[in-house]
Amino acid sequence: MSAAARSAAPALDVARIRAEFPVFDRLSRGKRLAYLDTGASAQKPRAVIDAIAEFSGHSYANIHRGVYELSALATQRYEAARERVRRFLGAAEAREIVFVRNTTEAINLVAASWGRANVGAGDEVLITEMEHHANIVPWQMLCEERGAELRVAPITDAGELDLSAFGRALSERTKLVAVTHVSNVLGTRNPVRLLTQLAHGHGAVVLVDGAQAAPRMPVDVRELGCDFYAFSGHKTYGPSGASALYGRAKLLDAMPPYQTGGGMIASVTFEKTSFAEIPDRFEAGTPAIAEAVGLGAALDYLDTVGLAAIERHEAELLVYGTELLRAIPEVRLIGAARDKIGVLSFVVKGVHAHDLGTILDQEGIAIRAGHHCAQPLHARFGVVASARASLGLYNDREDLDRLAAAVRRAIAMFA
């Protein structure tokens, strides 16, 4: 999204938005909840909670199986949610959307199915130094199994991908590039469109981990040009259990099943099974039906708020929070990318992240403390653990003021 389009987006009415999230009706440790852990999982708006309850109470049955009214209705709602995800990602066809539990499962699906069919001895898979474990370990396992090599494109001290090193790491041996759209620790937004063009120039397929990007900005997979795009429903203000993988139809069509069993077959005899068309081929067993409907409701909700407005809101808060934390001499921010979004990770001299997490919790402030499933990245910056405040559409300056004040109190306590 261009800066001009961002600034044209209306400002968010945070008070009204908070009123739409029942969690903010409760106090945390007797105080107004400052929820700064949306990067781990987002809170749910009433629209999502109601949609799941309504569907479960009035329209529920298993899908694609029954011939009766309820089953037809449930199937229709489930497929409408798929269409909703298609629109959210700007995909060409609904059959390019596969429902999965989470981003981790989406990446595992691609590694197990596409990976085993296309990556062999001597081939390479290229990832980056800023990946979440979910975008490292499946490729590591695949490479080990196939005798392929896992290559890692380095990042700079500011936490940006080293583009020239990335370019040099690409070759005709590169079969797949797996890269995060937005880093869950650094907040760095990668130039995915450019990376995809570079990778395609070498004939490599591109998978984008969109877990942190999808809730924070408009995404259009056709504009990005990537081949696979995965995001988590629960980070996108939907329920846990329903997430999506986008895959270019041509690639999905040629891929073998991931899990096998019911719902993904065309016909079964004891001698041979033929598999269903995409996307059913990749959805063995009864899926998270009500949760998929809830995800559809979450995407509707994000539409009414406007992703461009959310992007601008979080960008403003990020600048504000960065200034507050920079003013504290004991704080070292991790990640100073020029294009940064949604996430503030930091370490505090003299205060371990875990102790900080406990102290902030006592003030009703929820942050993440630890390695955030990115141990190699933390090693790159020479720290074992960090504190992470991640933003959502319901955060405001007061949340960040309280964060900074509590960090100062923790420093005083441990001095």
């Binding site: 371990h352 992240a353 102790d355 403390a369």
Partner: protein, 147 residues
């Protein structure tokens, strides 16, 4: 804030800043590594066992205030004790943290960890060094994990 002061008592803050026995003792006979994968805390406990007693003990590593102070206070508490008494003390310490039993007299200074009980997510921080000690005394050179 009062629960927080109860958790981070002055003794704990002091042992975090200046850990005691933060060293490898001479004549070490056994050691073990402890790791809390959730927060990245790592501790190595070294013991010099002599005639069934912990003649000397030290630790190294890095972690949060609770785990560092716990390791430090543990080394003071078990130094000179028989292996049996040291393990019995671990049981009493564990009970203090989890079941909420009154601190027995034997537990002494370790009673400062009573506040951890109100923070279930932090119990593993306080017990990491102790689990590691038990492994070291058991002679198994494997990494202990608490999560």
């Amino acid at each position: 804030m009062s629960e927080l002061r109860e958790l981070y008592q002055n003794t704990i803050l002091d042992h975090n800043k200046q850990p005691r026995n933060f060293r490898v003792p001479a004549g070490t006979t056994c050691h073990a590594d402890g790791h809390n994968p959730l927060c990245g805390d790592r501790v190595t406990v070294h013991v010099a066992v002599d005639g069934g007693a912990l003649r000397d003990i030290g630790f190294q590593g890095s972690g949060c205030a609770i785990s560092t102070a716990s390791a430090s206070l543990m080394t003071e508490a078990v130094k000179g004790k028989s292996i049996e008494d040291a393990l019995r003390l671990f049981d009493a310490f564990h009970a203090l943290l989890t079941t909420g039993g009154e601190a027995s007299e034997a537990i002494g200074k370790l009673a400062v960890f009573g506040g951890v009980r109100e923070f279930p997510m932090r119990v593993k921080c306080a017990t990491l060094a102790w689990h590691t000690l038990r492994t070291a005394l058991g002679g198994k050179h494997e990494t202990v994990k608490t999560e």
